[in-house]
């Protein structure tokens, strides 16, 4: 048999992870002229969309609208989704090598970076990623319990995830009730006694990585006033010189917004959101019960690296901020996959332009690729994964042309389906997901929400059984 990629001998590709990058890899592959590709996309959850479902904030439905594009890709006749099938458990790398010519890992960045400070593991100190997954109804996090009886909360970080966390904490129940926030999260936040949310940025206002639309949104919250300390929003000399050089309009606009917040007089809104700059947590202080009671902060000044970046450097000035809850939002980090080389330095699969490399020879491992956050690290917006996926697909097409692909013993779609059926008989197809989706949307419609999510795998399985019973 000749080179795969024809009607009679299609190129068989497995994509591990049904997030944005997985879909963009599928899209670019299916668009290749003159190449017949069959794609099996696996995900350990029954539901697709990755962080669009489990990460994007529930009050940002317009961002979630990107899933319509993924549904179009999934509707392609040579695309198959196998949800609730876990790589390394239900199917191993060995299995995949027996069934596919090419394998693409798009598993994202599933854990959080640590602060590396004493007290980080006290009760009440959480990775922001856990809170985000919890309010988004991720099945692995639905049993988490966050204690919102505390009045003061610290959110460490000023990236867009930190902004999401702070905003969700500050939203009123009425605002949240029109989103697709997990129902248990809405209920818990309804009883929240949080009065002050302190966002802590280690660099200055000009270096904060949140985007202007996100920052502007913080000033429009129904139940919270946003404030900034005037002395922390004033530009230092290094930032001023850098800005004069770059003339970056987005930064000027960000500073204008922050200065407006600094001059803003507090109203009678029940909550305060305080954005801090040039402070780093050095320790979380606990009470006798091992519960977070305060965060000790050091004030920073900025210095310029040789390459021109302004970085924080601690001073000898400290302050203690009493808080009962801490969310650490200093970035996501990739998790190694069984049998796949990992680059610990950057927290990604060891790769070159998306080609997975041998950990010893540093040469490409035939037939294995990666895309998205597990390839380059957790940066960029959803759309950034499109050019990233294209780069990987170009490598895949180049390698195919060179004959550098796997030679599976069973490259038939039916063989893959049979093996998946054997290993995980409860797997979810895309049609199964669309039926769950219809149920979620219908349930949401009743309460004026975009959807009410299934948050437990067991509930998804039951719902599917009920649909099957009804249809028989």
């Amino acid at each position: 048999m000749g080179q795969p990629g024809t009607d009679t001998n299609p190129l068989r590709v497995a994509i591990i992870g049904a997030g944005p990058s997985g879909f963009y890899v599928a899209e670019h592959l299916l668009r290749q002229q003159g190449l017949v590709v069959e794609i099996d996309m696996l995900d350990r959850l029954p539901t697709p969309y990755g962080l669009v479902r489990g990460g994007v904030a529930p009050d940002h439905q317009k961002i979630k609208a990107v899933t319509a594009t993924y549904d179009k890709i999934a509707a392609h006749p040579r695309f198959h989704f196998y949800g609730y099938v876990e790589f390394g458990k239900d199917l191993t790398l060995h299995d995949l090598r027996e069934m596919y010519h090419q394998i693409v890992y798009t598993t994202g960045a599933q854990t959080d970076q640590h602060l590396g400070i004493p007290g980080e593991d006290l009760h009440g100190s959480w990775p922001a990623t856990a809170f985000v997954a919890w309010y988004n109804g991720h099945p692995d996090f639905c049993d988490y319990q966050f204690d919102f009886s505390h009045e003061r909360v610290a959110v460490v970080g000023v990236g867009n995830v930190a902004v999401d966390v702070a905003r969700i904490l500050c939203r009123t129940p009425e605002e949240l009730a029109t989103t697709d926030i997990a129902d248990y999260a809405l209920e818990a936040l309804r009883h929240s006694r949080v009065k002050e949310v302190h966002m802590l940025g280690r660099r200055g206002p000009a270096q904060a990585v949140f985007t202007n639309p996100e920052l502007k949104e913080l000033g429009e919250l129904a139940g919270a006033d946003v404030s900034v300390l005037p002395e922390e929003v004033a530009l230092d000399d290094l930032s001023r010189i850098a800005l004069e050089k770059s003339q970056d309009r987005a930064t000027y606009r960000k500073l204008e917004l922050l200065q407006r917040y600094a001059a803003h007089k507090a109203t009678t809104k029940p909550r305060q959101l305080i954005i801090r700059f040039l402070v780093s947590p050095v320790e979380l202080l606990g009470n006798a019960d091992g519960q977070v009671a305060a965060v000790r902060l050091v004030k920073n000044v900025l210095y310029a690296t040789e390459a021109g970046t302004l970085r924080p450097s601690p001073t000898d000035q400290f302050e203690t901020l009493p808080v009962g809850l801490v969310f650490r939002s200093v970035g996501y980090r990739g998790v190694p996959l069984p049998g796949v080389p990992f680059d610990e330095r950057w927290g990604v699969i060891l790769n070159q332009k998306g080609r997975v490399l041998h950990s010893e020879t540093l040469q490409p491992r035939v037939g294995e690729y990666t895309a998205g956050w597990i390839k380059r690290g957790p940066t960029g917006v959803i759309g950034t994964n499109k050019p990233d996926a294209l780069e990987t697909v170009r490598c895949m097409v180049e390698d195919l042309a060179q004959g550098a692909i796997l030679h599976p013993a069973e490259p038939q779609a039916t063989a893959a389906e049979k093996r998946i059926q054997e290993r995980q008989p409860m797997y979810f197809s895309y049609a199964d997901w669309r039926r769950l989706n219809a149920l979620e949307v219908a349930k949401g419609r009743a309460g004026g929400q975009p959807r009410v999510k299934f948050t437990r795998v067991e509930a998804m399985l039951t719902a599917r059984r009920n649909i099957e019973k009804r249809n028989h």
């Binding site: 439905q61 317009k62 961002i63 609208a65 990107v66 319509a68 594009t69 270096q207 850098a242 050089k245 770059s246 970056d248 690296t305 040789e306 390459a307 021109g308 970046t309 302004l310 970085r311 680059d343 330095r345 950057w346 990604v348 060891l350 790769n351 070159q352 332009k353 998306g354 490399l357 540093l362 390839k375 380059r376 690290g377 940066t379 960029g380 917006v381 959803i382 759309g383 950034t384 994964n385 499109k386 050019p387 990233d388 780069e391």
Partner: protein
């Protein structure tokens, strides 16, 4: 975005050369690896210079014997280095203003990679493409 993102997809191997090696050997490495600069390391593995295509071009018109000369005769010694946490935008500005095409990246005294102006332009392009795509998706939400 910081330049660690660029290094993450460049593999772990940095092509280096020793100061006593000949320029001819450097040219072979340029061609073999399709690169435009080599990091020069001494016996102790310390970064002591950078040899770029331009260094050779600049020296060649006055020096017929350049191919057999050692790298140390031509390399740039006074170099700027980056750290993995450097912002992409700051690095882009610095490289543009100072007309630097290659920036070795050092982490805690150890060479961990090299970033070229081509890498920086590509990362910026992908960043902007991604933002435009995401904004368009949001604007068209409901119409698609």
């Amino acid at each position: 975005m910081n330049i660690q993102t660029i290094l993450a997809t460049k593999g772990a191997h940095v092509i280096t050369i020793r100061p006593e090696q000949a320029i001819r050997e450097a040219l072979v490495l340029f061609i073999r690896h399709n690169i435009g600069a080599l990091v020069v390391l001494d016996d102790a593995g310390q970064l002591i210079g950078l040899l770029a295509e331009r260094d050779i071009i600049r020296a060649a018109p006055m020096n017929e014997a350049i191919f057999s000369q050692p790298v140390s005769a031509v390399m740039t010694r006074d170099i700027i280095t980056a750290v993995p946490q450097d912002d992409l935008m700051s690095v882009a500005n610095t490289m543009t203003e100072m007309r630097i095409r290659h920036l070795p990246v050092v982490d805690q005294g150890r060479l961990v990679g090299i970033v070229s102006i081509g890498d920086v332009v590509k990362a910026q392009r992908d960043h902007y493409h991604g933002e435009v795509d995401t904004l368009q998706t949001q604007l068209l939400a409901g119409d698609i």
